[in-house]
């Protein structure tokens, strides 16, 4: 499902910083993987590259059989919108839109009709237990509720891959646990491939597989028989 071959990412400035250094990685369909490492180890860079938000300096990334290198910006966007759902640490909801509108956003961008997009959004908000908050705006919600909306938005297109950048990083432990449980539910019921960047040991260990990064290289790849 996700394939990285000799992928490097260098940031050129006054001095060159290598964020990822010739990384090889393969994640199969339906796996739930955590990506851990100290700050600056390259985990967010890797997530951005897999998500098509950034392009590698060298190497090849293949997502669901589609090679990302050489794709034009709009083609990269199409891969992103058809195959990937994002969950961010700071939720990244649009403050002026209601929950339904936020969840509908990716659907509208794909040209769905208003009615169909709204119906799908309501269904997803029910799924994340926010049926009572449909018309609320993000600043009227708690942190956990906002992240639920973000998850509903990520699921709106039914993507084969879900990428989470510290999805529980901005939440208290109880709410974090609820969100993690929700992500596991999604994994179980939808069979999505999930990659989560996290500092939280509990979150990392709840995944089937944990990849450890240090100085832009993979230094560990631990598989568990069952997820928590």
């Amino acid at each position: 499902m996700i394939q990285l071959e000799k992928v490097s990412k260098r940031f050129e400035g006054k001095r060159v910083v290598t964020a990822l250094d010739s990384v090889d990685l393969s994640i199969t369909k339906g796996e739930m993987v955590s990506l851990v490492g100290a700050s600056g180890s390259g985990k967010s860079t890797m997530l951005n590259l897999i998500g098509g938000l950034d392009t590698p300096s060298s190497g090849q990334i293949t997502i669901d059989g589609e090679r990302l290198s050489g794709l034009a910006d709009d083609d990269l966007t199409r891969v992103r919108r058809d195959k990937i759902g994002f969950i961010f640490q700071f939720f990244n909801l649009l403050p002026t839109l209601t929950c339904v509108e936020n969840v509908s956003l990716p659907l509208h961008l794909r040209g769905w009709s208003r009615k169909k997009a709204e119906a799908r959004s309501r269904e997803l908000l029910d799924l994340v237990k926010l049926g009572h908050r449909m018309e609320h705006q993000p600043d009227e919600l708690s942190g956990g509720e906002r992240q639920r909306v973000a998850i509903a938005r990520a699921l709106s297109i039914n993507p084969p891959i879900l990428l989470g950048d510290e999805p529980t990083g901005n939440l208290d432990s109880t709410t974090g646990a609820e969100i993690l449980s929700l992500i596991h539910d999604v994994h179980r019921t939808m069979g999505s491939t999930i990659l989560i960047v996290t500092h939280d040991r509990g979150v990392a260990e709840s995944c089937q597989r944990t990849i450890r990064l240090k100085d832009g290289k993979i230094i560990g790849d631990e598989r568990r028989s069952t997820a928590a």
Binding site: T77, N92, L94, S104, H108, L109
Partner: protein, 847 residues
């Protein structure tokens, strides 16, 4: 100063584009201010220079209005014991087919003691014996500039169409550059005065007498004695005083220039205000850090005001440079207009601003910048350091502040209405105007919010994501948008006002043309219908009247005279025949008796604009300065007549001839028995007189087209103002969008992250720009309706005396919709590209 260097300079370096846009606001205002005033000054200076250079050592001049005076007056002046030299002069602007030429007719026997002709190659022989010069009536002296421009040398011939038919004049001397030869930009020719009389058809009349007083006699005494000797029909004055008439003529331009440049500065002020408000919003965390580190509120305020002073100075210097460039174009336009409409001789060769104007521009530009920054600087000083250092969305205009603005707007508007009811007290009228505009400015942010909220459903319906986000961006950040919208609103309001006046005038003039312009043919001495340099003898009119098919020939003499120190047009014709053919709409007086009485020479009929501007009423006695003494006549009627912008007075021709002793004619108005005779009668007139005199025949349609063309030129300012509005829209919208994109960096990043294509991102920026343009347009159209009312009132009472109907310029409004939306879209192109080209990762991490 240290803070300015450490903080502000670094900020400017990082945000060069935004600062360029701030400067553009000042540059715009100062450039219009400098451009318009420099152009006016240059035109006035050119006129004064022409007077001074032609005057030579002349100490006093005798004149009797545009019609001149009979030759006998010269003898009276020369016999005065105070006078050393008194020489007659004829001065006229002619066009020998090579641009305008100022023709000076002088009497060489005495003139050289007043003027130095400074001929080249010591060729003064040509005029050393004036009798030789006189004996050759085709003699002409030209300047080196004119000779060079047209490749003339001594002995060359210069053909001219004169009132005695086509004549060749011979260049008998070339004046060296400088002094007299530099008058009228060097486009000057001198000829014998009697030859000039023939050329121009002036009969035995002079335009003026130039005088030098005897040694030991005070000029003031000589002036007083001469005035007494000649009577009040003549004007004895120093050459410098002649400029006053021109200044009065140019006054209307000064007023329009002042209003336009003040408006430009006001609009510029909002662009600057907008930029500073945005800067304060953007730099909240920086301000918070400074405050946390110990900066006082006053230091923060001083920091922002210091930035505004620097921006003001730099912008003003650039504005002055642009203004001087702009002045060249405006001076040429104003100069041409004054020559065309008033036939006033001047040639703008040197466009330069007075030092005081440059200093004033620098001061006004800087002051505008500081005033614009006052509120943002105050806001900056009030930033709470704790809140500023917390992450969160940008500060919005507080509800309380918004409420205060609304209440302020309502109070000001109520006061403006109060002033309107007492508009007969002019200072109160102008105060009301100012209050109404201030009320609109205060209400603009609220109105802007209402319009965008109303637009949101439509925008969302058009594009669910792009439209909703664009509308929300405007609704959520009023500070970012309201300055631009206000600037655009003010600018467009002026367009509507000028367009409205143009539309109303055009309509009124067209209606008037239908009534007043009833003759089938017009026979004139000049292609330019307003030029009165050449005149016909009345015999030509008698001759034309004998042509078969002609019903009536009206002889019209128009001369400009001074009434209450303002030049107005005296129209002299056979009023009895006018009454038979034309019925000008009466404003006051009985339409039947006013013409009958005026035809008997018992009074005059005046135009409505004259009565309004000079405060005359029906029955008032008006004093006309005739050469044989003031002619006091009652006003028998007030009619609608647009023949002259300063107003016109209709006098019976017989009375004019009696008091002015002038039988000449400017125009023969020819009525045909049948309109189908037009081509044959026209051909016959040309056949009879074409080779014998200088004569042009215009049809009714030609004249209508000519008048409407002149009217169009007057309102060329509307188009200039549209251009300014477009510039304001572009500057303001680029500024707002640049900041909007910076503020919405994360939002746009999210949009791309969840699948927004580049065109969808561009779409939201374009829609935001279109919404700003549309909102500015809606508010501009509304405030324009108020501005139009005041402009019509100013035009009626203080400028032109025109009672114009209130007609909203729907056509201009219709044109503005695509123009402003187009400008808004063009403004959005650059910002939209920058929005789609930024790093997505950075955008998502942006705080």
């Amino acid at each position: 100063m240290t803070l300015l260097r450490l903080i502000s300079f670094q900020y400017v370096r990082k945000h060069k584009l935004r600062w360029l846009l701030t400067l553009a606001g000042i540059v715009l205002g100062v450039a219009v201010f400098v451009g318009m005033h420099t152009a006016n000054q240059s035109v006035l200076r050119a006129f004064h220079q022409t007077i001074d250079r032609i005057a030579g050592t002349t100490q006093l001049q005798v004149s009797a209005g545009e019609a001149g005076f009979p030759e006998e007056a010269l003898e009276t002046v020369q016999n005065s014991p105070d006078i050393r030299v008194a020489v007659p002069v004829i001065e006229a602007s002619v066009n020998p087919g090579r641009g305008n030429l100022l023709l000076l007719g002088v009497d060489m026997t005495g003139d050289r003691s007043l003027r130095d002709y400074d001929l080249e190659n010591n060729n003064d022989d040509a005029i050393d014996d004036p009798l030789v010069f006189l004996a050759q009536p085709d003699s002409l002296l030209v300047t080196r500039i004119f000779a060079n421009a047209y490749g003339l040398k001594i002995g060359d011939k210069l053909p001219m169409a004169t009132m005695a038919g086509p004549r060749d004049f011979v260049v008998r001397g070339i004046m060296q550059s400088g002094g007299l030869a530099s008058a009228f930009g060097g486009n000057l020719a001198v000829m014998d005065i009697y030859a000039a009389q023939k050329l121009l058809g002036r009969g035995r009349r002079f335009d003026r007498i130039d005088i030098a007083v005897r040694e030991g006699v005070r000029v003031e005494d000589a002036q007083a004695n001469l005035q007494k000797l000649l009577g009040t029909g003549y004007l004895v004055e120093s050459p410098g005083a002649r400029g006053q008439q021109f200044e009065s003529t140019a006054q209307i331009y000064s007023l329009v220039s002042s209003i336009t440049s003040m408006f430009a500065l006001f609009v510029g002020m909002f662009l600057i205000y907008n930029t500073f408000e945005i800067a304060v919003s953007q730099r909240r965390s920086e301000i918070g850090i400074l405050r946390a580190l110990g900066a006082t509120r006053s230091q923060i305020r001083t920091l922002f005001l210091g930035e505004s002073v620097v921006a003001g100075l730099v912008g003003s210097v650039l504005g002055i440079a642009f203004g001087l460039l702009l002045a060249r174009g405006i001076a040429a336009y104003v100069g041409t207009m004054l020559s065309e409409v008033y036939g006033v001789a001047q040639n703008v060769e040197d466009v330069a601003a007075e030092p005081w104007l440059l200093a004033a521009a620098l001061f006004v530009g800087t002051l505008t910048s500081v005033l614009a920054a006052l509120i943002p600087a105050r806001d900056a000083s009030r930033v709470d350091p704790v809140k500023a250092l917390q992450k969160g969305k940008l500060q919005l205009i507080g509800q309380g502040e918004n409420m205060r603005r609304r209440i302020g707007a309502i109070v000001l508007f109520a006061l403006a209405l109060g002033c309107m009811s007492m508009s007969y007290i002019r200072p109160l009228f102008y105060l009301g105007y100012l209050l109404a505009i201030m009320a609109a400015v205060l209400f603009a942010p609220t109105a802007c919010n209402w319009v965008t909220r109303t637009l949101r459903p439509l925008m969302k319906w058009l594009r669910p994501v792009e439209g909703a986000l664009a509308a929300d961006s405007l609704i959520e950040s009023p500070r970012r948008t309201s300055g631009t919208v206000t600037a655009l609103m003010l600018s467009l309001a002026l367009v509507i006002a000028l367009g409205g006046v143009a539309r109303s005038s055009y309509k009124s003039i067209q209606d008037w043309l239908v009534i007043a312009l009833s003759p089938d043919l017009f026979v004139t001495t000049n292609e330019s219908l307003t030029s009165r340099s050449f005149v016909f003898p009345p015999e030509i009119g008698d001759g034309i009247a004998t042509i078969p098919g002609i019903d009536l020939v009206q002889m019209v003499r128009t001369v400009r005279i001074n009434v209450r120190n303002t030049p107005v047009m005296l129209v002299c014709t056979d009023i009895a025949s006018v009454a038979r053919k034309i019925h000008l709409p009466p404003r006051e007086g009985d339409p039947d008796t006013m013409y009958q009485e005026a035809a008997k020479g018992k009074g005059v009929i005046v135009s409505d604009n004259f009565a309004l501007l000079r405060k005359y009423k029906l029955g008032d006695i008006i004093e006309l300065p005739a050469p044989d003494g003031p002619l006091r006549m009652p006003i028998l009627g007030i009619v609608i007549d647009y023949s002259d912008q300063q107003g016109s007075i209709l006098l019976d021709r017989e009375l004019y001839i009696k008091h002015w002793k002038d039988t000449t004619v400017n125009v023969f108005r020819v009525y045909l028995q049948n309109p189908t005779f037009e081509p044959s009668v026209r051909a016959k007139i040309q056949e009879m007189y074409g080779g014998r005199t200088r004569l042009f025949v215009f049809t009714n349609q030609d004249l209508r087209a000519y008048i409407l063309k002149l009217t169009d030129q007057w309102f060329g300012l509307t188009y200039v103002q549209i251009a300014v509005a477009v510039l304001v829209a572009i500057l303001g919208i680029v500024n707002t969008l640049t900041v909007s994109i910076s503020d919405r960096k994360r939002e746009l990043g999210v949009l791309q992250a969840v699948g927004g294509l580049r065109n969808q991102i561009r779409g939201t920026i374009w829609m935001e720009a279109l919404a700003i343009g549309f909102t500015g347009l809606v508010l501009g159209l509304v405030v324009g309706a108020i501005q139009l009312y005041y402009t019509l009132e100013i035009s009626r009472t203080d400028v032109a005396g025109l009672r114009l109907d209130y007609q909203y310029p729907i056509n201009i409004a219709a044109v503005l919709l695509p123009v402003i939306l187009g400008a808004a879209w063009i403004s959005a192109l650059g910002p939209a590209e920058s929005a789609v080209r930024g790093s997505l990762v950075e955008a998502l991490e942006y705080e």
